[in-house]
Symmetry: C2
Subunit: 339 residues, 2 copies
DNA sequence: TTGTATGCGTTATCAT
DNA sequence: ATGATAACGCATACAA
């Protein structure tokens, strides 16, 4: 709108060189108190704000990091983002949150900002693109994976052990005497969906339960998909006695589907979720779920990213945080386990 | 990590001047096909990506707009943001989403990015700072208010008519025969909380109902506050027969509080929300609420902002979109109205 | 069709 | 303690 004052304007008004103006801003070199005063007054008078772009170009740094989430509607990520933002602020960085809607091209568009030097680092909360692309990118740019661990990869990451967590909650359902446990998995192209599926299968196997392919159906983490998939599960001949959804949001969709079907949770069908989002303890029945330290995941991710950007050594590149099983109403009577 | 190739490197390798390299990138001036080929090969070979910062400094534009939300956890805003992002992408802009946590200082930190020329425009989804500050800012920088209309202000904005919507849903409860309708309002320092409160009061007045101060309690749009405030409402002597919460999220908290209190919705107490977030139709009982065209609010906001940034005339600076009352289970038997 | 040179607003390295 | 000037990487007006 209004044409901005530059360092030259300030210098002219204060009758000094631009170098001196720059000096009073940085405070690095000594400046005569009297001229300093003049410069400050000039800055004040012109309402001067240094141009960030010029500074960035000069330093070849932006102090911006990009955080990519697959779906900004998903409440799971919002807390992770908060952790990221707080961690970033502490380290003097701004966060640009991008929602990719599971679209590789959108993700790549954001990642291009790094190539253009318009951002310094990247946090990926879901690795949906092909692994080769990610590996290549991580080799060239500071990047951290939050929430997801890619087996066999050396990319720095922060996550829980999704497999063991899924195993744990499936075992909980088994311990309650369930014999037909269905699983609403996440999109099969994301790593953590596979991890949770594996944990589920392992638990069944360890208990000598047969795998029924009909009982495993794929959702996309949305509440709508949870509802739709649960409907499908309710239409098969031998009804499941329990449903383990790979996310709380999908579990809430399932809750509604079961309700609409005239059945009751947990009496007729038990339900378990994953993530422990805020709403999990407010819906009725309250959700049994796996608590993920979402805020901490975000925070730790940035901390690692900052080290990466400073080219510091990060001792451990793959951080696994602890999860907790939270037993509430939706799975029936129970107890709490830690691990 | 890796030291980037510059336009000079490309020029040297292709044995041309940097001007020519620049030309093949922009495609503005004609370039000999043969040299163009050489340049392209050089770019390819060096894996060259133009430095965005330099471009930005040159053009004094960043193509970045900042969208500020008070709370990224609030699902209401996620859909607005999606609208903003899609609209922005169409217009060739990137969106930097910032969460202010209702903290003026955080908001100002983001707004400073505009002053530093590191972003071109601002969308505020909640005006929590003092009005003078906002007015001043809007006079100097391209800015649009989404979701909120400030009476007496000329700042461009896109929103529904919060007052009439609140009046409408309160009247719905009155029509169902409710005599003691409580209101869980939003934070009193945000404009739309006041608007919704006013609508609520107007409806009561029009029906000749007395105002009971005990029945109006302030929340902060969080599910926890909805729960806590509802608890408070359940502890007063003459119980309310209905609760109108200023947001669905708070309404869901209230649902749980009523449930925990051993009462039933809508039989014992009716509940109405506001926003029509995704989850509103999935909780039990499903929420009666006001549907806001959230995605469109976001989209229209950016469109206005883009015009503002281009210094184009925006015909109408204050856009009011239509809301819809959605009657579901939580308010008891009913019908649907439009307006 | 191509090259030279200037400027975008800073910071930093020289001098003085 | 201060000033002149060269980068940072690119786009473009002007020459050739």
């Amino acid at each position: 709108m209004i044409t901005m004052a530059t360092i030259h304007d300030v210098a002219r008004l204060a009758k000094v060189s631009i170098a001196t103006v720059s000096r009073v801003m940085s405070g690095a070199d000594p400046v005569n108190p009297k001229t300093q005063q003049r410069v400050m007054e000039a800055m004040e008078q012109l309402n001067y704000t240094p141009n960030g772009l010029a500074r960035n170009l000069r330093s070849l740094k932006t102090n911006v990091i990009i955080a990519l989430v697959p779906d900004i509607k998903n409440p799971f990520f919002s807390e992770v983002i908060r952790g990221i933002e707080d961690g970033a602020r502490e380290a003097g960085f701004h966060v640009l949150v991008g929602s990719t809607d599971g679209d590789r091209e959108k993700a790549k568009a954001y990642m291009a900002l790094l190539e253009e030097s318009r951002a310094d680092g990247l946090i990926l909360t879901t690795a949906q693109m092909d692994q080769a692309f990610i590996e290549d990118f991580a080799a060239r740019r500071p990047m951290v994976l939050a929430c997801e661990y890619i087996a066999g990869s050396e990319i720095p990451c922060v996550s829980i052990d999704n497999e063991s967590a899924a195993r744990k909650i499936t075992k909980h359902l088994l311990a309650l005497g369930h014999t037909r446990i269905a699983h609403i998995m996440g999109p099969s192209n994301v790593v953590l969906s596979q991890a949770r599926l594996n944990g589920y299968k392992q638990a069944l196997r360890e208990h000598g339960m047969p795998e029924d392919e009909l009982l495993v159906q794929e959702g996309d983490f949305s509440i709508e998909s949870g509802y739709a998939v649960a409907k499908k599960l309710l239409s098969i001949e031998r009804l499941p006695t329990a449903i383990f959804a790979a996310s709380d949001v999908m579990a809430i969709g399932a809750l509604r589907a079961i309700h609409d079907h005239g059945l009751r949770v947990p009496d007729d069908i038990a339900v378990a979720g994953f993530d422990d989002i805020n709403m999990a303890s407010y819906v009725s029945p309250a959700l049994t779920t796996i608590h993920q330290p979402r805020y901490e995941i975000g925070q730790r991710s940035v901390q690692m990213l900052v080290k990466l950007m400073k080219a510091e050594e990060l001792g451990q590149a793959q951080v696994v945080l602890e999860d907790t099983m939270i037993i509430r109403e939706s799975s029936g009577k129970g107890h709490e386990e830690k691990g």
